[in-house]
Subunit: 346 residues, 2 copies
Amino acid sequence: MSKQSPSRTEISSLGEFGLIEHLTDNLAMRQKSTIKGVGDDAAVLKYGEEVVIVTTDLLLEGIHFDLMYTPLKHLGYKSVVVNVSDVYAMNATPRQITVSIGVSNRFSVEGLEELYAGIKAACDFYQVDLVGGDTSSSQQGLVITVTAIGSAPPQQITYRSGAKQGDTICVTGDLGAAYLGLQLLEREKQLYLSQPDMQPDLEKQKYIVGRQLKPEARKDIVEKLAKAKVIPTSMIDISDGLSSDLLHICKQSTVGAFIEEENVPIHEEAQLMALKFKLDPITCALSGGEDYELLFTVSPNDLPAVRLLPDISLVGEIVDKEDGVKLHTKGGNIHDLKAQGWKHFE
Amino acid sequence: MSKQSPSRTEISSLGEFGLIEHLTDNLAMRQKSTIKGVGDDAAVLKYGEEVVIVTTDLLLEGIHFDLMYTPLKHLGYKSVVVNVSDVYAMNATPRQITVSIGVSNRFSVEGLEELYAGIKAACDFYQVDLVGGDTSSSQQGLVITVTAIGSAPPQQITYRSGAKQGDTICVTGDLGAAYLGLQLLEREKQLYLSQPDMQPDLEKQKYIVGRQLKPEARKDIVEKLAKAKVIPTSMIDISDGLSSDLLHICKQSTVGAFIEEENVPIHEEAQLMALKFKLDPITCALSGGEDYELLFTVSPNDLPAVRLLPDISLVGEIVDKEDGVKLHTKGGNIHDLKAQGWKHFE
């Protein structure tokens, strides 16, 4: 029978990105159809005129979602959104998805119908085809893996690596609300567990709860950029928080960045909830994650066109690598931006 | 907080295939790049001259593998094999894979290195590129999802639906050994749990244990068929057992089938082990599953060319739908073939 290896390194010592880099180091690419492998929002493959984009996400009960406050329909919807968001982050159009689920006998067929109703609603909204998948029983909880396939003209694909000094850093929508929605749901869950007859009233926090439970990918922005003939120099979707995702762009583009706190978009409801939780709103925006907004950079030439588009905030500028990745606070201080993001292994 | 729905249907009442059909019923396909969605070994997409094949599999600890007797390196290898096997079953060539894993802190970095060493060894052997994936912590056990992407000239793609009356039914390699390898490993595990100082001796059963722990996909057969200019009329990989997979072909091709027991290939070591376990070898071959051999049908025109190829058994003939799907036993009896396959939900 197999035994534990004598030398043991804890996964937490590497962290998520360290672990991925470690495990996918020195990967040989041998297929001429592989344009880009590991290391961006999605892989890029060439099978014809258009390039093909592939991205996949694994969602695990207890890690990525809590069924105590997540309706299965919303979960199905969100599991598609987080994937198509990665395709949009390549400036491409999602076309197909596959969905694999592992379910324990805790779940009924009606429960799975709800899940699939959400998946199908997202397919309708994003106009993608559900083309395959795998269904299995699970001994533990619900496991969902979605793979999204998309396409785009090759010259339109936007990597994380193209940001240049002098580019403007743009963010769509607003940040931090999904994280605050999660904090609120977690608090209500604890209240409910201690007093089951108390029903939570989330009506006044519809926005932040909606951002957590039913996020949308920024299909509209990718379409508007195309219409305005703007191809960002780099792009990523904000799943781990502005800090962490901006650091990905800076690392892969070998540049620094300077962010103005006062330009970082935060919804009023998120502002108020942050104060209630005694959290700094800007910290929620920088490190909260799960916003599924787009973070992108545009060259000075494209700036006038971008200024005309709705729901985009110009939050800073790409600077020399030597100048680091900094936040200029409203109080006039300058801080280093640090990756927070994903800490499940800790 | 969300509540259980008042009406509840147990998943086990539908079974795996019933569940998939139920959940993916009436799916609209709206992308012109979608040639084939749910319902074959893989999806078929058109993005250029060649069509693109996408398939995905979810492997869960405790359901699909037991780490007590599965070395992580073998598990990594097998998780790629089961996916590329689906691409070969479309008569296509695998090109890329994505791998998503969920791991609990029970696992060390060294353990994951072993897993990836197996994944990379399979990528080397099958010449596929690992182009992406997702890594997450898990509260439960190890979860692995692999998505394989392949391509082929459109006219070469082989669906489950093309079998015609009079076609010969072919099987590669031999069947039932992987199932018997699993039975042996399970027995040794129980012995080990009751007497931990006893080390199992599996040397004499290397073949069947190898078939379970390190299966291979039939890359060689797909290449030889292409060289011989034979395009099967239908094809599927045998993951659930000959009966179950043949029934898929018959259902989708609207035909019946007649199988000769004496032509069904069973390895000598599997024969012997079946007898030791007081199992009928043909039952193991028909219902065992996990062989990852190819089951295909060829038209009478192609039969002479197929006869010249190595490691292919001609096990029967496609007949009229009205004649059903039958087995002609060595003893001269005729039985209906029934789907056994996957029963995790029961």
